[in-house]
Symmetry: C2
Subunit: 344 residues, 2 copies
DNA sequence: TTGTAAGCGTTATCAT
DNA sequence: ATGATAACGCTTACAA
């Protein structure tokens, strides 16, 4: 039943009684071939079960029909939403999307990048472990379009798409202060993650500008941005002396916030009365939490879409100029900070 | 700065003053080339920034170094966990993994499948919209290894890896009955989804076997397996007259359960005292919920790993026989069904 | 409108 | 140990 090897244009040509070139024309410029022969060729293709060999096409064409996205953390739905946005854009341009996951490890990232180069992908979208990494610059120098997603490239050597993380941190903490909190925890880490640094930075900035006491902003570092670390931060929070204990927390992403929320509810705290919580990203699960989570929303799919637009521009437009797109994050207030939420 | 085209083996050969074949040997059988020339070639490669062209390699080799997974719903973390398992196995065999998402639409699925064939992937893993679909059988008939994941192929025409969904439904409902519930809701849909049918089937079976009254098992159909539909099912549940209202619910997946949980807590119900909830899949967010969710665990990564093993066997072992691997699901009891959970 | 032939970058076979 | 050469399946001039 199984065939030795799959039929090639040559086989189709033989079967249809035409030449190689004609078969190719049927596929690539059907208008130049007469309806009669075209139909004959198409029938032959169907009969033989011909499937075009993309490698051969690509070898000849010199260009592939694929984009790639190297995500930072497969376990964070945020990145999958970004990927979904990219995929839509890719689909619109009739491109395939290759998705890789570095899992925060620079080594894996490099391995993936290497393979993608071998595959001659049209462009690479990446949320890098380190935007300053040598291997990233190397790729860009080769002329392969690279776009940094969710992070601003430091050198301006590539395009980037991100939200203003500093602003995000600001509006989160500003919101908490508006709600009457005067002792706030900021939770996140490690600080080697740029997004974390900037979100914390924004939080500190606005805290100072609003004239709050520096000591009343407590930083609780975490080793990762996970639910488990959020729970652990909650325990540390609970361990603080009541007088100094923050009445609100700003978490650098939603996974941390979800973990904190779980720990707090488990400990019997009323949310938001005894502890208010703001997350970051606004993933689906934020709104789906038992106490819906206030979060700083990133336009996740939009981010991906815009990034895809930039790679494609770089890939096809000779006049392309690198640009850093910045989206404005938006606070989505829910029950975890306000008893009667403005949004749900 | 940017180079016209990237250097080929030919360029490397010229630069190193050796022949084409020698360069190829350095890459593929380094042991046959003398250390001196090998080093010379390697230096030339580094200087020129040579990157092997995978299309050409593949065209020549006739086979690609990629596996593909077509997932059913990108918005459900369950599938990403399966994908992670596949990826690990792929990595072990030095293969790349191409991830696609059909989003439950048969049309998208077919488009992806088509592209994957053109790419000549080594094998396809898929959680299909419809395991009986024509296009799936067509691919298998072409001799491309296809493995059905999280669903049993109907015809035995391909390998499959799944958990016993009927059993899963059984242990979920058995657990609820053990906890003393005599009115239970089963929530899920649409019934066109095989997993749903079987989980419900198991629920009904065990309900009857335990001698419970048929009318006390209420089926609440949903249009999708999402958090939003879970919430909506919760509202319908709340609308039932108190006498007939179930005191426990078995949801066909965790997203539904999470939605139901949210709705119930929002409505002021105490969990599990006033409503006990069991989900299915045991995704990370089940354990992370405010009230940790009891769930029927699927060995998500294991599923992926095993499936990858089967495709690889089919791809490489001439004596390969199709097989249907079935894992045994396991109940993970948490606070959403037991006041003092056995596990956390 | 259709056929012929060259070439994309690699690998493998056969000489040397 | 190294070099020359054919072949993989396709696209695209160019010729007929």
């Amino acid at each position: 039943m199984a065939i030795g090897r799959s039929p090639s244009v040559k086989d189709v040509a033989a079967s249809a009684g035409v030449s190689l070139g004609t078969v190719s024309n049927v596929m690539n410029r059907p208008e130049v071939v007469s309806p009669a022969t075209r139909e004959r060729v198409e029938r032959a293709m169907a009969e033989l079960g011909f499937v075009r060999n993309e490698s051969a096409r690509q070898l000849r064409a010199g260009t592939s029909r694929t984009l790639a996205y190297v995500m930072l953390e497969g376990s964070n739905p945020f990145f999958h939403d970004v990927a979904a946005g990219i995929e839509m854009a890719a689909e619109d341009s009739d491109l395939s999307l290759f998705i890789c996951n570095s899992n925060g490890r620079s080594g894996r990232e490099e391995v993936h990048l290497d393979r993608l180069m071998q595959q001659r992908v049209q462009g690479i979208l990446i949320t890098p472990v380190d935007p300053g990494a040598r291997h990233l610059a190397d790729i860009a120098r080769r002329g392969i379009p690279v776009v940094i997603v969710d992070r601003v490239g430091e050198s301006g050597a590539f395009c980037s798409v991100a939200v203003d993380d500093v602003l995000g941190g600001r509006i989160a903490v500003e919101h908490l202060v508006e709600q009457g909190h005067s002792r706030v925890a900021v939770i996140g880490g490690p600080e080697s993650i740029g997004q974390v640094r900037e979100r914390l930075e924004g939080a500190r900035q606005v805290w100072a500008e609003l004239g709050m006491k520096p000591d009343d902003l407590t930083y609780l570092p975490t080793a990762e941005m996970t639910v488990a670390e959020g729970r652990s931060a909650g325990e540390r929070l609970a361990g603080l002396p009541a007088r100094r204990r923050p009445t609100a927390a700003f978490c650098a992403n939603d996974l941390l916030a979800l973990g904190l929320l779980q720990q707090a509810i488990g400990a019997g705290l009323r949310i938001p009365e005894e502890l208010a919580i703001v997350g970051f990203d606004d993933i689906e699960f934020a709104a789906a939490a038992a106490v819906p989570l206030t979060s700083v929303r990133q336009p996740r799919q939009e981010l991906g879409r815009a990034a895809a637009g930039l790679v494609l521009d770089e890939a096809t437009n000779p006049a392309h100029e690198h640009q850093q797109l910045t989206f404005v994050p938006e606070l989505v207030a829910r029950a975890s900070t306000v008893a009667r939420p403005r949004a749900y």
